[in-house]
Symmetry: C2
Subunit: 189 residues, 2 copies
């Protein structure tokens, strides 16, 4: 009975990898046990239940995505920052579709408040500092950017733009461009 060395962290990471391979909703405690070649029940010493596994993966993905976005945005401002933010977001979703799906898991309020989700909101607001928006416009803009990015990426992942011209990349650039113009128009004089 060799000990494999399971920990919540290793399980979370393996779960994230599994999500990218087979889809987030195919991530089960059973599948994870198979991957470590241990019996299913063994995982329940490290995880309260299946929901905790999914939540952990979600939190992990949120952190990772926030790190990437922070990196991408560092040292940029204005449209440059907006484009970097947008690309970091989209690239992450395309590289890690399962983790991205995980990041969209609905968290209970306390968990969400303690998650990297707040960093996302902060970074979005940081981007908007380049556009001189005052409240409540700034909040509206935060919500709009979140909607467009999430909406686009999730439609793209679902294959919505696959078999039609023009290329998805072109639409993405057009949209970022349009959003920049929109935000500049909304700036308070």
């Amino acid at each position: 009975m060799v000990r494999v060395g399971l920990t919540p962290e290793r399980l979370t990471l393996a779960g994230a990898e599994l999500a990218d391979e087979v889809g987030f909703d195919q991530v089960t405690v059973s599948a994870l046990a198979r991957r470590f070649d241990v019996k299913v029940a063994s995982l329940y010493s490290h995880l309260k239940n299946s929901h905790e596994l999914k939540t952990r993966i979600a939190l992990f993905a949120l952190e990772e995505l926030a790190d990437r976005v922070a990196d991408a945005v560092a040292g940029r401002a204005g449209k440059d920052a907006l484009a970097a933010f947008a690309d970091a977001y989209r690239d992450y979703a395309r590289e890690h579709p399962g983790r991205y799906a995980a990041a969209r898991l609905r968290l209970d309020p306390e968990t969400a408040a303690a998650s990297a989700g707040v960093r996302h909101a902060q970074m979005t607001r940081a981007i908007l500092r380049g556009y001189d928006l005052t409240e409540p416009d700034q909040t509206h803009a935060v919500r709009m950017l979140g909607s467009v990015f999430h909406g686009y990426v999730s439609l793209e992942l679902a294959g919505g733009f696959e078999h039609s011209a023009p290329d998805s990349q072109e639409s993405w650039a057009w949209i970022v461009d349009s959003l920049d113009a929109l935000l500049r128009n909304r700036a308070t004089p």
Copy 2:
């Protein structure tokens, strides 16, 4: 052994109702059988499998949503049409969250091509006729509108805007307003 009168249509409708009550991913063949007070295996005379049930609910929801949007948009043009489209979309998602989630199910290409999804795309293009966009801008705009609406509604359903000011309704109006301005700016002279 009383016959309940199961049909694929009745099962689909009941499945849609169930989705709104407990969430689309909680819709199972078992739960549906309980609702009709018949044994689970009985449903398999009317449905090939669980996936077919979900696909049917998705197609049903797409039709229903397309009907609503068509109704809302009829006789309107320009920003009026845009707002009517947006509201019909958002209202449907809020009234029928389970069906809305179903409508976002990934369909295989042939099924998607035969679905009301194509009506959605046509209606979006119809809205854009009021803005004098030429290709490829029109396609970019179709994709952007789809992204914003879907993204916003799905973040809203996930509770993203619940416990913060300003009201979601205000942000929605601001966004529709902004999109209208954006599209007018993009019009070809």
